[in-house]
């Protein structure tokens, strides 16, 4: 077969690329280049305000809060057998809404068989229900913590004995300062063996697979 010398040379670069309007030898047409540059410029401009705004909104998830220690009363205010309610300020910026009740008693070797917290002289139990966060109340006659919202019941050590709670009541770190006053520190959560974990929100189980399904927040100190 005689080759046709008038035939246009086959565009080797663009033939199988299906680029309409390409000249021979072009891998990218001017139109496609302009389209790409316009899209890139738009994407850069949009991410310039979107990404910082998004990071700004989700930032608090990764922020770590410094530990606060607050004195709640002299050591002789508390005994080994019953809880004394004290007021603890969790957030000083929002007035009454930032305060919570904590039930405090002395460490009692007869009932507190807690192998993980041997050094503690005081037990401070949060009144935040481990179901959905309502305030529980210590009922002296029943020797139970009882939640008014959905009927959660906890025993003397804060372990759930009835209702929907998935783990025991949270606790607070305690220490005694130089003036012989009990100070309460950061919150920690416990599983059913009363083993301490970094604080979790209510409703998040800590036994078995629960501790992996409900990871601690990135800012929290690991225990």
């Amino acid at each position: 077969m005689v080759p046709d010398k008038h035939a246009k040379p086959t565009p080797i670069y663009t033939l199988d690329r299906a680029i309409p309007g390409a000249f021979d030898g072009e891998t990218v047409t001017r139109r496609r280049f302009m389209t790409g540059s316009a899209h890139t410029a738009g994407a850069i401009a949009a991410s310039a305000f979107l990404l910082p705004s998004l990071a700004f909104a989700v930032g608090p998830i990764f922020k770590s809060t410094p530990a606060r220690w607050e004195s709640v009363g002299p050591t002789d205010m508390f005994n080994e057998f019953n809880y004394v309610p004290v007021i603890l300020t969790l957030n000083p910026q929002i007035g009454e809404a930032g305060k919570t009740t904590v039930y405090v008693r002395k460490f009692n070797p007869a009932i507190d068989v807690d192998p993980y917290d041997k050094g503690a002289k005081f037990i401070a139990i949060s009144n935040r229900c481990a179901h959905l966060g309502c305030p529980v109340r210590w009922v002296d006659a029943a020797e139970r913590f009882i939640c008014p919202c959905h009927g959660g019941v906890y025993d003397l050590l804060g372990r759930p004995v009835g209702g929907p709670p998935v783990r025991p009541l949270d606790r607070f770190y305690t220490r005694v300062n130089a003036n012989s006053e009990v100070e309460l520190g950061p919150r920690f959560s416990v599983n059913s063996q009363l083993r301490p974990f970094s604080p979790r929100d209510p409703g998040e189980a800590l036994d078995g697979i629960g501790q992996y399904l409900y990871p601690s927040r990135p800012g929290a100190q690991k225990l």
């Binding site: 809060t65 910026q93 809404a97 930032g98 604080p199 409703g203 409900y214 927040r217």
Partner: protein, 270 residues
């Protein structure tokens, strides 16, 4: 300029139609009174000549509806008007509201309710209207479901509607905190913790909602921003898409109506 084809005008009832000119009146002389009478039409024409909006409006409003259309078909519009009522009352409530967790929020709501002229009424419309809107959303959803109006080709509109339902719930949840009384506070604590029980992302979601590990100073303003800026914007955009699809696809006939047999069609089938 070529004359555009004149679109059909909707028929007006006889009393509203302009009377034809009396003999001797239509002499071509335009009096100022005529011009004043035509002012509204002139303005509309002026805008329409520059935007061609009337075609879109006619496309949206003068649609054919199937036989058997009944009162159940008004539930969607009723929901939209409930939303518009929430939007308008919400904008005016925002003029008085202060998202200050240190007592200011509660105080501003108390001020609106007890001292502002018609404050109790406007706040009441917003408060009770939110329940009305949720009820109407569910009735509208039930109508769509039981009339089979979610089927091809309207599946996407059902999906958009479900997103609108979720956004309505988000509005109810975030709006509940704003009075910042005991009920609002504890309901929000419980609601945020319910979000937290979702595995893996739950804890991050509740931290995002609270703006930190504990209910804090930014939680209220965060809820306020979500309630009055973020979600309303999404709602307006999705309601527009929802309405566009309704106009594009038309409405369905009620399921108890059978299609009428047409002898011409039967012959044409052969």
């Amino acid at each position: 300029m070529a004359k555009l084809p004149k679109p059909p005008t909707p028929t007006l009832p006889a009393p509203l139609q302009a009377p034809p000119p009396r003999p001797g009146e239509g002499n071509g002389k335009v009096t100022p009174a005529d011009q004043a009478g035509q002012a509204g039409t002139s303005v509309v024409d002026w805008v329409d000549e520059r935007t061609s909006l009337s075609g879109g409006v006619r496309w949206m409003l003068f649609r054919k509806v199937p036989k058997g259309t009944n009162w159940f078909y008004t539930l969607g519009s009723a929901t939209m008007f409930a939303f518009l009522s929430q939007a308008v009352t919400g904008v005016f409530l925002a003029m008085y509201y202060r998202p200050d967790p240190n007592g200011g929020a509660y105080e501003s709501i108390r001020h609106v309710t007890n001292e502002v002229f018609l404050g109790q009424f406007v706040r009441g419309m917003h408060k009770w209207g939110s329940s009305v809107m949720v009820v109407l959303v569910f009735l509208h959803m039930g109508r769509t479901f039981f009339f089979g109006a979610y089927k091809y080709p309207r599946e996407l509109n059902w999906v958009i509607g479900v997103v609108l339902l979720i956004l309505t719930m988000v509005m109810s949840f975030t709006g509940y905190l704003l009075p910042f009384d005991q009920r609002a506070y504890w309901a929000t604590i419980v609601g945020v913790n319910i979000n937290g029980t979702g595995p893996l992302i739950g804890p991050y979601l509740s931290d995002f909602l609270r703006g930190g590990p504990e209910f804090g100073a930014t939680t209220l303003s965060r809820f306020y921003a979500i309630h009055m800026l973020l979600v309303p914007g999404l709602l307006i955009a999705l309601i527009s898409a929802h309405l566009y699809l309704v106009a594009r696809l038309g409405t369905t006939a009620p399921p108890w109506l059978k299609a009428e047999e047409s002898p011409e069609l039967r012959e044409a089938e052969v």
